[in-house]
């Protein structure tokens, strides 16, 4: 059994919150630069130019890339042989969020859904735990902004609708969302599982790098097909027209009930802010 001190977790989480919100990931920057080279429309190029300038400025000044620093979402892999000392793992993560959002001057967006009263420190975080073999703790953090999250959907298709039905639903969703979620977006898709599980795996795909390739060649081909189809919608950066409506499409597929075909579409804005640490 390995012991990890809660303080180590708190500091790691606080650091991730600040870094992810002020430094644009290198894979996103590369995509912006590629898109700049391919876009012909002046307004599309201008939006991308502003986003690159924004990223430089955020890194230099430590201002957040976007004022919406999100709900703090975590995917945590907990080794079976790990114990946390000083606080529960959940408490340590929430304390890290409090510290990071406070010290980093990040916006606190968590509020009561009905009274709308702000909780004041961006907690509680949304935390998904997975128990895995070993004595390591892997914590992945994502800042999930409201504008893009609002454009996300879960639906239960009929099994007969198959891949064609999935494609149609996803493309329509992105067409409907139009300029609202800050395109070019990243689209996380969960196919299978149950109603709730589809949403969870869709969100988890947003942690993947934009330049990776799905290990299953069939799913990799589906990701490419959807990315190309969505980009043909012509929505473009900020909805002003252009070739870049999505920077990437990521799909997770898991077994489901024989009566069901759950589908979740989780839209992420162009600023795909995430970090991970392994302790």
């Amino acid at each position: 059994m390995r012991t990890i001190q809660a303080k180590e977790i708190i500091d790691a989480v606080a650091g991730m919150c600040i870094k992810a919100n002020t430094e644009l990931p290198d894979d996103v920057r590369t995509k912006f630069e590629q898109a700049m080279a391919e876009e012909e429309s002046p307004s599309a190029r201008e939006v991308l130019r502003q986003l690159l300038e924004n990223a430089d400025l955020a890194a230099e000044t430590k201002l957040p890339l976007c004022q919406d620093t999100g709900l703090a979402v975590f995917f945590v892999e907990v080794g079976e042989d790990v114990r946390v000392e000083g606080a529960t793992l959940r408490e340590a993560i929430n304390e890290g969020v409090r510290k990071g959002y406070g010290e980093g001057f990040l916006r606190k967006s968590a509020c009561d859904p009905l009274t709308r009263a702000n909780t004041g420190d961006n907690t509680p975080a949304i935390i998904h735990f997975d128990i895995v073999a070993g004595d390591r703790l892997k914590i992945s953090y994502m800042a999930k902004g409201g504008g893009s999250e609002n454009m996300s959907r879960v639906t239960m298709l009929a099994p007969a609708q198959g891949w064609e039905g999935i494609k149609k639903y996803v493309i329509n969703r992105i067409a409907e969302a139009g300029p609202n979620p800050c395109p070019p977006t990243i689209v996380g898709i969960g196919v299978g599982g149950t109603f709730d599980h589809a949403a969870r795996i869709a969100k988890k795909t947003l942690l993947r790098r934009l330049d990776d390739t799905h290990p299953d060649p069939q799913i990799a081909a589906m990701e490419k097909e959807l990315e190309e189809a969505i980009n043909k919608l012509g929505i473009g950066p900020m909805g002003l027209g252009g070739k870049t409506t999505v920077l990437g499409v990521k799909i997770a597929v898991e077994p489901c009930h024989l009566a069901s075909l759950p589908l979740a579409v989780n839209v992420q804005c162009h600023s795909q802010r995430h970090e991970e640490v392994e302790l």
Binding site: S43, V47, Q50, L51, E53, N54, L57, A58, T61, K62, L63, P64, L65, C66, Q67, D68, T69, F105, L106, R107, K108, S109, R116, N118, G120, G146, G147, N150, K167, K168, I171, N172, I174, A175, G178, P179, N180, P181, C182, A229, I230, K232, L233, G234, I235, G236, M238, G239, L240, G241, C269, H270, S271
Partner: protein, 185 residues
Amino acid sequence: MAEYKLNTPLTDEDLSQLKAGDVVKLSGHIYTARDAAHKRLVDLLDKGEKLPFELKGAVVYYVGPSPAPPGRPIGAAGPTTSYRMDTYAPRLHSLGLKASVGKGKRNDEVKQALKDYTAVYFGATGGAGALLSKCITKAEVIAFDDLGPEAIRELTVEDFPLLVINDCHGGELYVQPDRKAAGIE
């Protein structure tokens, strides 16, 4: 596509010349308000009370900035998605509000109100919160302090870069998605 430099408060003359796609560099005072603040503004109107700022000629920016770090007037301050304010916008335009600033689509009622009251809907680049904050030289909470990031602030802006999305003549800049090209029609 023309480029204009405008100062607040805005007038009918300022706005009737603008067309969707024009670039505007705005200077002067603008007011932040988003979901919760709009609800309170409309509650005040229902009760016949005075609003915390003069609506005539005013510009409302749909933003909830991040906290100001030491030495800066404001944190990151990019636009939030506008459709959530669609319920409130026509009434505010009818009382003299001249422009809103946000990102994303507006509904038909808002577009009609822009025509009826000679007003415009400006877009600012979503997510460019650090960059846009450079144009904000002063920020002061003037109402609803308890709403935190959603409080109403008076911002002093210099050459704030805006794009006319919906003009007062029915013009719109957003493209219609080409479902046929994407293979679903």
